[in-house]
Amino acid sequence: MMASGRILLFIFLSLTTILRGYSQEHLTRSFETKLTGNKFKIQSLTLDSRGNIICGTDNGLFSFDGASFRPTIENDSQMTNAVMCLFNAEDGTLWIGYKNGRIDFLRNGEHHTLLKDDKGPSTPITSFTESKGGERLFISTLGEGIFIYENNSLSRLTTQNGLSDNYCYKIIRLPDDRFCVATDQGINFITYGNKKTQIIYVNTDNGLPDNIVRNLIVDEEQQLWLSFQEKGFCSIDLKTGHINIPETSINWSKGQVNSVLPLAEQIWIATESHGILSQSLGGNLKAVDLKIPGGKNENVRTLIKDNEGHVWIASGYFLIRSSTERWNRILDEKSSPFNFIHCILADNAGNIWFSPDQQLYCAKRQDDGSYKFIKYKITQQNRLTDIVTLWQDNHNNIWIGTLGEGVFVLNPKSGRVQHPGNHPVLLKGNVMAIEGNENTLLVGGFGGIISFLIHYDKLTGSYSLSPKEDELSKILMNNYIYSIHTDKEKRTWIGTDEKGLVLMENDKLIFFNDSDKLPAKTILSITSDSTGRIWLATQDEGIISYDGKKFEQFSINEGLSDPSPTSVIIDNNNNVLAIHSNGIDIFNPQSRSFQYYSSENGLGELNPDLNAISKDKDGRIWIGSERGIFTYHPPEDERWQQPEVHIEQILLFLQPIGRKQDLIFDYDQNNITIEYNSSWLTDPNRISYAYKLDGYSDKWEITKDKSESYPKLPPGKYTFKVKASLNNQFLHAKEATVTFEIQAPFWQKLWFRILLSITILLMILSIIKRRENRLRKAEQAEKEKIEFRFETLRSQVNPHFLFNSFNTLISEIERDPNIAIEYVENLSQFFRNIINYKDVELIPIHEELKLLETYIFIQSKRYGSSLLFTKSSVLSVKDDGYIPPLTLQLLAENAIKHNAISHESPLHIELEIKDDYLVLKNNINVKYKTEDSTGLGLVNIRNRFKILDKRPVLIEHTEQYFIVSVPILKK
């Protein structure tokens, strides 16, 4: 009951204190080391250059991609021996040491054995290391000391050289390039030199707790950690040489330590029979529950860190992944997780305030880094009220917002709790968000948002709030307010239900909604990053950022897992964490890529309340969920981790090609498969790939496959490009490429084509030329023919001939009319022939003969016995030869024309056949008076024959005779 106008303070002194330590639980996942029904035990673990885990087991070498095991080399029976140790050399070679002393190495995907013919060690290989630069390989064995492999030769360091013991468990290279060997008789520091090797001993005489040192590791602070057989572990400061023996190692009762792994805030100790123990700085030794299915197996062989913040542990038949470096869950004093955390706050002193039920807990940070719980009761015992929001003011008091009981303020030192005022919302309101500064306080809840002026009495430590009447309260009166956030620039952002985003700056209100391109109406959580960019978690629209100018949305299409994240916060690496009901997404704004943590990683089914998230001053993020409190420790290394894709190998007709082969193929080697892979140990099934073959297609294809085949590639130059992503956004993903070429068959090659074109061109040219020649020849022949005929015709229509013929006719008519008739008949026959043979090219010889004889008859009537004509008898037999018409006639005419014919000097024309030639011969009677002669007749004949036959016309001009031989033609 309150008197009006006066502020009565409720003081609850029932402070329940529970001072017990809280414990942290890592999130684990166990993988059974099983392959095709066979189980195997892991002896050694290492990371390969691609980020995958290589397991050396008692059954050979396997690689693990985060989900399943695969033998490293297929079908190699040699490899199924007990592997003792593995080593990744700087040049990428993987060295493998076996129990029987054999040493193998994997280089470029090829497996080799180092020494043949039993020349090497015969005792188990325990470890490898190399000198700086990789020239020397050091090999430790159980019983033969240290082998040194250099330039294909093997030398040895044993007790005879000063080594403490030939039983060497581990050799490592120190930061100062000396080597340290762990043996049965303490450790040796070795300065190795070609001439002289210096050995310094450190054993129980020097203060070492135990002589049997099983393992060595150097951490980032130059501390050398030793694992003992009986006395636990210790460290040696390499800078000072001082041996630090942790308290837990005095009276060590946990048996043999196989390995020690220094982590960020603790050291993990893998033991032979007590599982994994955790030693935190200044704290106690605690057992780490690995949650191996099928009960406990207390033997832990080895453990390593990967590149994604996990620790991998080999124990029995399991490989266990622990998230301890990043994700942990907080357990209460009974080692069970809290349930249904509604809100959580990391205060200025590093204490964590949270509320799992109607009570308020504080995990108080101790000097040694551990936490102790204190419980505060805020509300009256018999009332059930949820505490849903927490805020700390500048007086270090904690403001508590509840559903139904308004606002309380708690002074952590005194434990005093009070309602800070009389206003109904402070007494009975449903308050979802509280935020303010020295003077004003904003209280938001189901009834809108109210501003208050703060009056703080230093002496009494009491608050009194008086409401401010302003626009804000009026406008948002009937709205649910989900979050209030003040950024670095002192702007206050308010997230509402259905009314979008509201900005309050210098008492001015700005509303953002659809028209401003803000796609969301309901804003659940608001935060800001170091650049001043505002990030919103919205209902149904994912996360949205605002840079002062525009809103940018990142929802399902951009790779967000859930469209309604309940909280959003920025980690110290400037990445955005979005918490949603089934996991946590971490978003990197520069590359627009995500990391996902969900049930695969123990972070599923969170069902968190709104804004149950806070960041402490160490950068650790505290997340409240249905399943308790989870913490996230962002990596020190700011490099944003994403899966990187590598080209593994290329197959030709589904057979792998050798590594060294250059990638130029013949035209028929055109069935190419490219295999690629990437590693994401957190969740390998999330990886998808985008690939493109330049030269074949311009489109990027997306697939989950790890290989692409191109069965019938045409010749050309190709570049295969592939990228990997977790959220199907490949824009900023790193690309792996490989270029290869399929050569064209020679008939497609340029030089061939050019040659071919030239050849064809030449052929065409020659064809054209020949045709031309032929045409020309034909033309010429035609011309010749015409000329010949013309000549012939000319000579036939020769008036002289006619005149003479008629004269002869006249005398013949008078002399002998019968012969005159014969004469005229011959003459007409002669002229008829001329007409007939006008257009004929060739006539049979017997016809020409007839023609000739007709002509001779005509002429002989004129010249009488002064003209003699003889022909050889053979002539009449031959009748398969041809000759151009009027050839012989023309020759005979020539003879008559150019020779004198008289009684004293008769003209004898002889015709015979000789060697397929028709030979016309006449004796020469020189004539003084020549008739008109063009001289073309003979030339014509000669040219005529040239076209018709290869054989030339032969002309012999002796003193006595004129001989013309024309070849006999065949048709």
Partner: protein, 185 residues
């Protein structure tokens, strides 16, 4: 007598030793073992354990002939022990050879717990073992005692299923004896 001299010589010949080396030696130390199975308890012992420690090199050898074990519940059992399980005709001896990890001054009387690390060979199968032993030095004598377990499976000693309830898979072994100083020229 001949046997133990022979044994000594064997051991010495394996070491590249200088003159005047100090050994501690015994040829009649005791070994007990017991098999505590649900249906039967079997015990046997031998007084024939021979052992030698080279304190300079910190090495040791201990041997016992299998045939010298007595005390079984029956003669048949002893016969089975020798013929079937340990095949003492093929593997007449059980042996433990190795080195002592801790550095102790054998001239100073007192009680020390040391680790004997080496190869334990039973039934022809060697296993790497670290066996804690208590040494009490007094009057130039070393009194030693130790107990440890031997897993039959580790030494390829097969127990047929029929007798599983009668023979334990883990055998408890106790040894004790006195080593006397001997200097060899």
């Amino acid at each position: 007598m001949i046997r133990h001299l022979f044994f000594l010589l064997c051991f010495i010949s394996l070491q590249a030793s200088a003159d005047g080396t100090v050994y501690y030696y015994t040829n009649k130390a005791e070994v007990w073992f017991s098999s505590d199975a649900p249906q039967e308890l079997i015990k046997a012992e031998s007084n024939d354990l021979r052992g030698l420690i080279d304190i300079e090199k910190k090495t040791f050898v201990f041997k016992v002939l299998i045939r010298t074990f007595e005390g079984f519940n029956s003669a048949l059992q002893k016969e089975h022990f020798n013929e079937k399980f340990l095949e003492s005709e093929s593997y007449p001896e059980a042996q433990f050879t190795g080195k002592i990890i801790e550095d102790i001054d054998y001239n100073v009387p007192g009680t020390y717990t040391i680790r004997a690390k080496g190869k334990l060979s039973i039934h022809g199968v060697e296993q790497e073992r670290i066996i804690k032993t208590i040494l009490t030095i007094k009057n130039s004598e070393i009194y030693f005692e130790s107990n440890f377990t031997v897993l039959l499976s580790e030494h390829n000693i097969k127990v047929p299923k029929v007798v599983h309830e009668k023979i334990a898979s883990e055998i408890n072994v106790e040894i004790k004896g006195i080593l006397k100083k001997k200097v060899l020229e």
